[in-house]
Amino acid sequence: MSDDEIILNDLDDDDLVAQMFDDLYDGLRDEIIEGVNILLARSWTPYDVLTRALVGGMTIVGNDFRDGILFVPEVLLAANAMKGGMAILKPLLAETGAPRVGKMVIGTVKGDIHDIGKNLVGMMMEGAGFEVVDLGINNSVEKYLAALESEGADILGMSALLTTTMPYMKVVIDTLKERGIRDDYIVLVGGAPLNEEFGRAIGADAYCRDAAVAVETAKVWVARKHNRVVAAAR
């Protein structure tokens, strides 16, 4: 052991959280798992560990990715580290009845196998308190619709990496319209070749540039929907 090696258990809570931010940034999965276990042993609630230590750290990663300071490999390493912490917290969050913001069905569209961005969004949404049902890759309109209905979802998230597959998002949205259920769901879309104009043109509620934007957009739209429902009930 080198003289300057940090013993996580020796740090007070604030320093430990700051160190976990650094460890997430550096993609150190084992250290994140250790940090999560230490905070839980200090009687932190799973929800606090998630939001204050992990999501706080990933927000910094997301911001630096957006600003061109970090690149995809580093974000994937950070995400992998966060996943290590999430694996511990997820069952505990379910047990302790942590607040649920809403439920999202997410998947990559038909003909497309790319899932890196979609997986990051799913993870960040879970971190923000959303329940996420991940349909994986190559999803048909029938599969999206069946999941939305069976899961009672609030949000549909669709992802595509290819110029040739992104128009399929419109097929899904048009089908929702044909069946008269478009307004039952918040529809968010994302993927490298997309842009805001495309999102508007296909009738999505919002285009999300990255995972952090997806989380913030989902929160805003869920709150808006909630307010509409409350107003209608008055």
């Binding site: 196998i113 890196i116 290819l162 110029t163 490298a192 842009n195």
Partner: protein, 207 residues
């Protein structure tokens, strides 16, 4: 003209023709070869850095700037890019600028022929061209961080099954290099000779 400078710097404008080709650096050798084969001396060529392939949002402003720069000097400007991940924005920019571009999603589509490529619908194939085989480390391995974090390989390529090397030329050295790329990515290898595909027809139409 070497591949590294085509990747990072592109190719400066040259010639005294009436038509300017604004192309991706990844197509430079092929365009120059077609021009020489067919005696198309009316085609001048300028290339953008091929590495813009990895940041498609930079392609449109770069093309717009060059069209503005050269518009007065040429009767015709032709953009030798497909959509290349711009999500339709390059086509929209070309429409706005009144210039033509190559139809199709990517060079690996028009090399095979857009219709044939679409008909194959090979969702789980990863494509390399002659240029991309030669520049595999610069375009794939290093930007994805696989030189530093090889364990990320399956995160990127786990859903792929096959690396298709679309050969523009018959070159056993490139074949071997492409086979090695497939092995490094953990994918099945397939070589498919395409020649220059739709690129030749598109440039011939400017004659």
């Amino acid at each position: 003209m070497d591949d590294t400078s085509l990747t990072l710097d592109g190719l400066p404008p040259g010639g005294a023709g009436s038509v300017l080709l604004l192309a991706c650096g990844a197509l430079a050798r092929e365009i120059i070869d077609l021009r020489a084969q067919n005696g198309w001396q009316h085609l001048d060529l300028q290339c953008l850095p091929a590495i813009l392939h990895n940041t498609p949002d930079r392609i449109v402003p770069a093309i717009e700037a060059l069209v503005d720069l050269h518009r007065a000097a040429y009767e015709t400007i032709f953009v030798v890019y497909a959509d290349c991940g711009t999500g339709g924005l390059l086509q929209a920019a070309c429409d706005r600028l009144g210039v033509q571009m190559i139809p199709g999603p990517h060079c690996y589509s028009f090399y095979e022929g857009n219709a044939a490529f679409a008909a194959r619908a090979e969702m789980t194939c990863f494509y390399l061209t002659d240029f991309l085989v030669r520049q595999f480390d610069a375009f794939v391995w290093r930007p994805l961080g696989l030189d530093r974090h090889p364990h990320l390989r399956d995160t990127y390529f786990g859903n792929y099954t096959t690396l298709v090397y679309q050969a523009q030329t018959d070159d056993p050295g490139l074949d071997a290099a492409a086979r090695d790329c497939a092995a490094r990515l953990g994918l099945i290898y397939e070589r498919r000779f395409t020649g220059y595909g739709d690129l030749a027809a598109q440039l011939a139409a400017l004659a």
